[in-house]
Amino acid sequence: MPNSRPAPSRRRFLASSAFAAAATAGGVPLLSACGGGGGGGGGQEGAASEEQVRDILPTFQESEVAVAPDIPAENGSSPGYTRWIPEGELGVSVPEPRGNGGEFTGMTPLWGTPPSSGNAFWTAMDEAIGVRMNWQTQDGNTYGDKLGAVLAGSDIPDLVCIPGWELAGQIPQAISSRFADLGPYLSGDAVLDFPNLAAIPTAAWEASIFGGALRGLPMPAAPIGGVMPYYRQDIFEANGWEVPTDPDDFIAFCREITSASSRVWACEDMKWSAFIIYGVLPDKPRYWMEGDDGTLINRYETDAYLEALEWTRKLYEAEVVHPDAVAASGDSTQRFTAGESLMFNQGDGAWHNTAVEQRTANPDFRMNAFDYFGAGGNDPVLYTANGAGIWTFLNKNLSEERIREALEIANFTAAPYGTREQRLRAYGVEGTHYTVEDGLPARTPQGEEEVVPETYPFIATAGHVVALPDIPQVVEDWTGWMKRHMQYAREPLFFGRQVQEPARLTNINDGFEALEDDVVRGRQSIRDMQNAVSEWRRNGGDELRDFYQGLLDDEGAAGS
């Protein structure tokens, strides 16, 4: 039975990764900022200049209570925690409630059944923070529709969470016109009043500048690997298979391991992997590169883009993609766990979630992410994702005092791994929501029901870590994968910036995703894609190029 409408757009795809991430028991929701969406900005077009950005950004001050990771970070990869820290050793970053008992309404997406209001978990959180949160959760799958309506009205909640994949159409404009500038409270040394917020990496704050002002409270994301290429390690090992290291071999290998008559297909839709193998630029606004003559080239105009689609098309043509994936129907994770498809792309949060779920259902189950390979002797390219991909914004009508109190909520939720606050936020109350057996946490039914990973963590979290003490193996595999791939990481142009494109040009890219799906399924040809790109140039693509070129020239936003 279907769990939700299985439309496969990028937006939904990322939402599903958020869903999986949101359910991470480790307490650090690992959301992909990958393809964070369509630019921020605000009332006026453009992006904040470097100088402006420097003035706006909060001072970084490392947390005093954070625990040293079991697997340290390397070259910017996320650190890993494999150990469950006993209650007695936990640090304390918010010794006593810092709120004044104020009442706030908050809206976040939620995938699944929302807990009833006034439940033990929310009450415990409220008491520890010193506020009263009134949550208005909305179904995560249709959050964008709700968001548009809520922001268009006049009754906007005090705290509103907006995931990067919902930044389509006119939402960026709404952010600038509806939400408060947090600069006066957080810019420079002001942030030191909120030690946990001061410990959030600067890259995450940088991606929270909308319309030239610091408006977002960030939820930091992993620099690479927002979407992972998973494979069934148990089945591969049992058969002695190895994932090939060449695109053509990969297709041949897929042919070999597909056996339709026994309901086994090699993979799901691998378009996302193809983009990395061929080094395709990410989504807007980071979809430009400098050509040899210095002019900007768009993602859609690159050969890599066409090559990646052509490769994916061959994969489809070879009939090694699960037919339900071709029809974009049903749940790909379910097919993967059932062994009907052996490789698939999914958000990084799915890893832990699926592993936990299968631990009881299928003890032999083991999934891992395979190493990317390049095409034609080149290395793969993993363009670095922005420092944050989900933000919470504060209503601009809140008084100064109320904004400070709201920031106390964020300061609490942003406590790092290894603190009492983080433990409460991620696991709830010991005895009520979880019990510790043999030095490992086990959720009670009440914990499963009430300690949803949405709501509070979406307000703000500490820097991205992989902390999954209940399955240390996943932590090792994951951090290892990241370390091996950091050498292929590359910063795109306009990295870390929210760019507001001119309103009349914001919709000219809309048709490409559907066209990609048409091309890989063989309904349209690469030539059709080329024609669409020429049309795109005529319909404003060239204008858009000039606009971005102007940003580069004027503001030196080229980054590194």
Binding site: M1, P2, S4, R5, P6, A7, P8, S9, G144, D145, G148, L151, A152, G153, S154, A168, G169, Q170, I171, Q173, A174, S177, R178, A260, S261, R263, W265, E319, H322, P323, D324, V326, A327, A328, S329, G330, E340, A503, R504, T506, N507, D510, G511, A514, D517, D518, R521, R523, Q524
Partner: protein, 352 residues
């Protein structure tokens, strides 16, 4: 409206049309109403009628208010079709509207050159024509069939089974189809086992899509559609059947000369409504299957409006498409109604 769903007494003669002969003559009477209306001239005035019927009027008030609030007042929002509207330009709808730029007919001109729009129009008309031809007759046939089942238990069972798919959501219906006719579905797997073909897949074939959606609609809603016809059939005076039988009419002759004439007004009414709804074939069914067959085969007007407006935030253009769609739908209803009148039926509304 309510009047037209009640079948007129069937005419026991060969041609049902003859009974309507006086009607055209009556229509030539000047249509002006008011004081000159003979029924009012010598009768009671408005005040008296209000005093007499106020209970009835009060009872319709809630419905009128609902219609006003949810149907008529929102029509005014269509002005954004002539703007470059942004809902975030101000606080609330009216403020935003005041702050949005006026662009005149630009959105309508854009439509003329928009090949995606015309593709959606073409698909919509194709799907609804197919449904008109293939879907529409099926509930009538089913109703006649059920009506012929005399055993009440079997009859109730058949009805329940036929009604059931109507309550399934589109997600479910399409999943069932995918599990049956998809590339990994039952039929495909059987075909593989029997060595017939390795790549049977009806769900991702853009050329087949029009037949597929029609089949889905039939499976989901044909059963539900019989309710109206069954109601009409239950109104047929059983004496007519008896006397026809006494006169020696067989099963088929009774159906042709008694049952079908009784259904005629209902069929005409539904046909008018169906034609008026030609441009509305639903959107969820097509949104779900969009990637499977591509927008070229699956985009219809409603899904196009959804994609432009809700998904991509191009509200003004979506509103403009909505207006054009509304105008053409109205024209279609009027045209279909005219045809119904010409055939001597009442249609959606009747003329005096």
């Amino acid at each position: 409206m309510s009047q037209s769903t009640v079948p007129r007494p069937p005419v026991p003669r060969e041609s049902g049309g003859q009974a309507n002969k006086p009607a055209p003559a009556a229509r030539k009477v000047p249509r002006r109403r008011g004081r000159k209306d003979p029924r009012l001239a010598g009768g009671i005035g408005l005040r008296h009628r209000l005093r007499r019927d106020w209970v009835l009027v009060a009872m319709t008030l809630p419905a009128v208010v609902l219609l006003l609030v949810f149907a008529y007042i929102p029509i005014a929002g269509n002005v954004i079709a002539f703007q470059f509207y942004s809902p975030y330009a101000g606080d609330g709808f009216f403020d935003s509207m005041a702050n949005s730029a006026w662009i005149g007919m630009e959105n309508f001109q854009r439509m003329l050159d928009d090949s995606d729009f015309w593709n959606a129009v073409q698909n919509t008309l194709m799907f609804s024509s197919l449904q008109l031809i293939l879907f529409f007759p099926i509930p009538i046939a089913l109703a006649l069939l059920i009506n012929s089942i005399l055993h009440s238990k079997i009859r109730a069972w058949t009805q329940a089974v036929l009604y059931l798919p109507h309550f399934f959501s589109w997600v479910l219906v399409i999943t069932v189809f995918q599990q049956m006719f998809g590339g990994a579905g039952l039929v495909a797997q059987l075909a593989r086992d029997w060595g017939l073909t390795d790549s049977f897949d009806l769900m991702t074939d853009p050329g087949f899509f029009k037949w597929l959606v029609t089949a889905q609609v039939i499976w989901k809603d044909a059963g539900w559609g019989i309710i109206v016809f069954l109601a009409a059939l239950s109104m047929v005076n059983s004496e007519l059947y008896e006397s026809a039988a006494v006169d020696g009419a067989g099963r088929w002759r009774r159906m042709w000369h008694v049952t079908l004439p009784a259904l005629r007004p209902v069929i005409a009414l539904l046909l008018v409504l169906q034609v008026g709804n030609m441009l509305t074939v639903g959107s969820e069914q097509f949104l779900i299957q969009r990637t499977a067959v591509g927008p070229g085969a699956s985009e219809v007007l409603d899904s196009y409006v959804w994609n432009r407006g809700i998904a991509n935030g191009d509200f003004s253009y979506a509103a403009a498409i909505g207006i054009v769609k509304g105008v053409f739908s109205l024209a279609l209803v009027l045209a279909a109604n005219r045809v119904a009148h010409a055939m001597g039926e009442q249609g959606v509304y009747s003329r005096r």
